[in-house]
Subunit: 295 residues, 2 copies
């Protein structure tokens, strides 16, 4: 399995357009030991030929251009065989609308996530210009599906909540957020980029795979409040803070493990922060744009 | 007046994610005398302090980061005082959804364009989380409005059509597309990035200003068909081809004039093409990312 991180940041990216916090300022000015990151998107392939994207960030055009194996090989073409969505947050699917230009596309998502996009947004009709332009394949938590010969995905239910823009439009169900276990050639990857709390099925997945990606949005629960840039605690945004998840995650049995979906305010973005040292001690790393893993 | 082109390409950008035409291939491989371009977005300022964006491309995050005067100067802040939309095409407004993070925003558009975005897309609710988050100011063709002290915009009706994703949802009216004449400090800019046909008011505007930007989407009417990458003529997409507009545009009296919203297939993107030589002879240039004009 070939894994390429196209973007490792949470919604807004790092730096964030309207953020002048010390970290965003520092990375813009080059005075911080940290590298900029675009919004979360990961490409995976089991054969190096066909690719699947985990989430579709608004920055997908530049992300595709940054990685030659994703470039077209004919006048109208793409090696992208499908996009898998973890939830309906805007930073996870707005990029779908940039994958138009009459290119057939397959999107894997739960029915809840599909409905939130397709049934409530006229903009989505750009992907429904002809029959078969966008084919939706339903993910069901607990079930394993074949993405292509030799590559499967199992969706794992994850505690989450509906995205803010769908509040009161969608029923509160249990399919708002999923994680993935992808398997190919005897190797496996667990992908949980949005996690409100650590459940037994998530822990089991982290013990059973070779590589894991996990929600690294916030370091602490009151991070935004303390910096004066927001009034919500991480729990209200359905993200378990790293400070809280780390003791359990340190015991996970997967060999390579990365935090992803990192918010611009999270101190683990700084190569020389105490918080980065803590996660390094626990044998976790921070995903960055351009990171590649070959299994 | 300070003008900065943040992106000069049509929807899809140059290169386009799923396009392997000779030009997209050549610019990716570095074998073409052409520079990559992101999707259309232009920043203007009359005082170097507050800025207005003409259209909001899906790539707006990287475009803002590319130009330091647009960076925040406080923990949560933006010098962007407003966004002006020429029409409701996705490549012109998807970027609005990336200008969230609870930042107050002012958007100038016709009522038709506003309704197409606000009333038909749940995703838009990300900009309606609190009263006053996104304030819409109505543009009316033929009327001049003050954007900020010393800077005015006059909207000019332009022949156009509703965006494809709104077909059958919006009534066919005459406010689907506008151009702008912006005036400050005795200087003026005409901006027409989507033009189905050259009308008298457009010609008058091009004669009356110091700088003009004009629709350079396609060189020829059958460009997509001839390349085998599409089945529509430029007229069906509400863009007058440069080949057809150039004889009239050559006579425009503005001193500095640029084609913008250039499709990846348009040969004027190549610095050494015959088509580029034609427009140079007519004293027109091709806008590129990073171009700056000070008036």
């Amino acid at each position: 399995m070939w894994i390429r991180v196209l973007g490792a940041a949470a919604g807004g990216g790092f730096p964030q357009w309207n953020c002048g916090c010390p970290q965003c300022r520092g990375v813009r000015e080059g005075t911080l030991r940290a590298q900029p990151r675009t919004q979360e998107c990961v490409a995976i392939s089991s054969d190096g030929d066909g690719w699947f994207l985990l989430n579709a960030s608004p920055e997908i055009r530049a992300q595709i251009e940054s990685f030659p194996p994703l470039h077209p090989r004919a006048p109208r073409d793409t090696p992208i065989r499908g996009v898998l969505l973890t939830n309906g947050d805007l930073d996870h699917w707005l990029g779908l609308l940039s994958l138009r230009e009459s290119q057939p596309l397959t999107v894997w998502a739960t029915e809840t996530v599909r409905a939130g996009i397709v049934e409530h947004n006229a903009a989505y009709r750009t992907l429904a210009r002809f029959d078969g332009q966008c084919v939706w394949r339903r993910l069901r938590p607990g079930r394993s599906d074949q993405l292509m010969p030799g590559l499967t995905v199992e969706a794992i239910a994850v505690p989450g909540k509906p995205p803010l823009h769908l509040a009161r439009l969608l029923a509160v169900g249990d399919e708002h957020t999923v994680g993935f276990v992808l398997r190919a050639n005897g190797k496996s990857l667990a992908y949980f980029s949005s996690v409100a709390s650590l459940t037994a099925p998530i822990r089991d997945a982290l013990d059973a795979v070779d590589v894991a990606f996990f929600d690294g949005t916030f370091w602490s629960s009151d991070e935004l409040i303390r910096l004066g840039v927001g009034d919500k605690r991480s729990e209200e945004m359905a993200h378990i803070p790293v400070q809280e998840s780390l003791p359990s995650l340190a015991r996970a049995r997967c060999a390579q493990r990365f935090f992803i979906h990192i918010n611009n305010t999270n101190p683990i973005l700084r190569d020389d922060s105490d918080e980065r040292a803590s996660i390094s001690s626990a044998k976790w790393q921070v995903a960055r744009d351009g990171l590649e893993i070959h299994l």
